[in-house]
Amino acid sequence: LIKRAGSSFKDVVTGRLKNPFVKVEDRSRHYRPFYLQLPSFPVLNYCVPKPYSPFEVDKKHPSGQKQTQSKQRNKINSDKDCGTPVQLPQKDKKKRGYCECCGKKYEDLQTHLESEQHRNFARSTEYQVVDDIISKFVYEFVEYKDDAKKLKRTKCST
């Protein structure tokens, strides 16, 4: 479904969105439009049992009939975000993310925290802004006596 439009630009490729879709564009027309093409438009389903969302597609009707909602992946060109959290065992969870301190993304949190760059930042004076606020707090704790503490710690990682 590609056509070459004879416009003032050569090689302008035009695509037609498949129904049903939602398309959003800033009225300034200065930005890239974003759109979503769905297998089917969402429907309020009153038969989903409480407390589930009326847009829930996985919950069977109380009557036992299967949902006929297509499970096809939506074709979308806008950001996907977390739907259902993926429950992975704690240990093989690779924590990827973005470090605001170093201004870079990382594949594994722990590895990044141990990197030279991050460790330098961690020990820098950048945290003065935090310490300034901390200095205004009133410390009102009493240390527990070291009685029967299982937490004998001598080692301190930095």
């Binding site: 035009t14 969105l17 564009e25 009225r27 409480k50 979308i76 950001d79």
Partner: protein, 532 residues
């Protein structure tokens, strides 16, 4: 579990000051940017108290940490806004100590709350929102798991300022941004991709593509959003946002076509397989110091041209069902998105660059919608536009499109869906709609289904699927005091006043400019006789 024990060990190790001060009992929450633990501490008053220890992810920028602390110290500690007791730091590890409020799981109590409890809950939520909005804080992540509720004590606490932003006139120094009307765009370094419904993407290069984004990676910061494990409840933790400001700017960009090299010299078109879109979002904070020559951060009245974006190229696709290499080669508009999908206001979902405290009021409306309908989460969408489509099915597609115009967005939707009558919707979902007719002066339900639409028609379910209350109603025939019994059994749900739905309508106002404020909500007739 063993994993949590280990986390506790590690926390003591990372912040040794905690060792003789806190007995950390358990982990009570985990989000993308923090983990929260329950601990006890001995206070100088002689009492041992429960505390919540919030351990921030060490990748948080010190300015963000400080801003969160400032929100807690300035706005917190009263009017149902969480305060802070202390804060510990060792290098990049920061632990915020807050009073612990034992709280219910929203999902667990949702369908056992009385109508009066719902009224009190909302009243107290607005008190908290009025307070933070007074200080010019936009919370951005208002949802049940961030509004702690102790049913017995009738105590409430709005928590988590980790995603907060300031209004232009914010009183929180560290949330101050060089606010401007400018809009920031981000150009993906990749070629525009037209993903069509036939499972084919077309990667194209506009012939007139102007200077590509500088190779500086700042423009293209991405990271995978972590899988969230919410211990207490609630799905989907936080996300990232982008903010068109100098002080902090957090990006949630989408990685287009991840395997295509930015240096690809392709002319014309290329057919490629539809790639599995990768979830990307990142949290990026831009400080004044950090501004380099990269073009992503535009401040003041920056021209879009500054971002090396062929923005002034027009095409005929606007408001049509078409996209082309011209419009797809423009920058993506970047606007704040932080928050939880089902609670995002339409102006957030459509990337409106100017977002106000009204986005929190929308989120409060979504909570209210859950309370009135007995459904949580109410919306269930994995992406912003699905969320928008779901909003349309409740508030109406034409209404949504109309409102979007007022904040500068053209929304095109193939489906015409009518606005639902909120009372009818909530009662049907709650299963209390079979109660006898009340005489409430309400407009008739607008939810007339256009039979020409290729959408499934809303259908009411068989009686056996309705709430238990209904069945109980049938058994009231016998016995004395049946009226009293009915009243206690229905907990006020058989006579929800019109004011409730009027307030809900004003909270879920699609136009942020006219949406009710927290201050106004507290004065709404729904709360008459409640003391402020």
């Amino acid at each position: 579990t063993a994993g949590i024990k280990k986390d506790i060990e590690k926390l003591y190790e990372a912040v040794p000051q905690l060792v003789n001060v806190f007995k950390i009992k358990e982990k009570i929450g985990e989000g993308t940017f923090s983990s929260v633990y329950l601990a006890t501490a001995q206070l100088q008053t002689g009492y041992e108290e429960k505390m919540a220890l919030k351990h921030l992810i060490p990748t948080s920028h010190p300015l963000r940490i400080a801003a969160e602390l400032q929100c807690l110290t300035v706005a917190g500690g009263q009017d149902n806004v969480m305060g802070v007791k202390y804060c510990f730091r060792k290098n990049d590890h920061v632990v915020i100590v807050m009073p612990y409020l034992e709280h219910e799981s929203f999902l667990d109590i949702l369908n056992s709350l009385s109508f009066e409890e719902v009224r009190e809950y909302m009243f107290n939520l607005f008190k908290a929102l009025r307070r933070i909005h007074h200080f010019g804080i936009v919370h951005r992540d208002v949802k049940p798991s961030n509004f702690l509720y102790n049913r017995q004590l009738k105590e409430y606490a709005l928590v988590d300022f980790g995603l907060a932003q300031g209004t232009p006139d914010t009183k929180i120094e560290l949330l101050k941004t060089t606010h401007s009307e400018d809009q920031q765009g981000s150009c993906s370094q990749n070629n525009p991709t037209i993903a069509l419904g036939n499972g084919v993407s077309v990667s194209v290069t506009a012939s007139k593509q102007i200077a590509q984004q500088s190779a500086s990676k700042a423009a293209d910061k991405r990271s995978s959003s972590l899988s969230k494990m919410q211990i207490k409840q609630g799905r989907g933790g936080k996300e990232d946002s982008a903010h068109h400001s100098v002080q902090r700017s957090v990006f949630g960009e989408r990685n287009f076509n991840v395997y295509s090299s930015p240096y690809q010299e392709n002319s014309g078109t290329k057919l490629i397989k539809q790639s599995k879109m990768i979830d990307v979002s990142s949290r990026k904070l831009v400080t004044k110091k950090k501004i380099t020559s990269t073009k992503t951060v535009s401040n003041g009245a920056a021209r879009k041209a500054a971002s090396g974006c062929p923005s002034n190229l027009t095409c005929d696709c606007y408001a049509t069902d078409r996209v082309c290499s011209v419009c797809l080669s423009r920058c993506q508009q970047v606007a704040p998105r932080a928050g939880t999908p089902g609670f995002r206001a339409p102006e957030v979902l459509t990337k409106c660059p100017t977002q106000t405290t009204a986005i929190d009021m929308w989120s409060a409306g979504i909570i209210f919608l859950s309370l009135l309908s007995g459904r949580y989460p109410f919306y269930k969408a994995s992406d912003d536009l699905t969320a928008l489509a779901q909003i349309m099915t409740v508030r109406g597609s034409r209404e949504t499109i109309q409102a979007a115009k007022t904040f500068g967005k053209s929304v095109l939707c193939t489906q015409v869906v009518p606005a639902q009558n909120l009372r009818t919707l909530c009662e049907k979902l709650r299963g209390t709609n079979s109660s006898c007719k009340r005489s409430h002066g309400e407009a008739p339900s607008k939810s007339v289904n256009d039979s020409a639409l290729p959408v499934a028609v809303d259908k009411l379910c068989a009686p056996e699927t309705l709430g238990k209350q209904i069945q109980r109603l049938a058994s009231f025939q016998e016995g004395d005091g049946s009226l009293e019994m009915k009243a206690t059994d229905m907990k006020g749900w058989d006579q929800v006043p019109d004011e409730a739905y009027d307030l809900l309508d004003k909270l879920l106002d699609l136009n942020p400019a006219t949406r009710i404020t927290a201050k106004e909500a507290l004065l709404h007739p729904f709360f008459k006789d409640m003391r402020l």
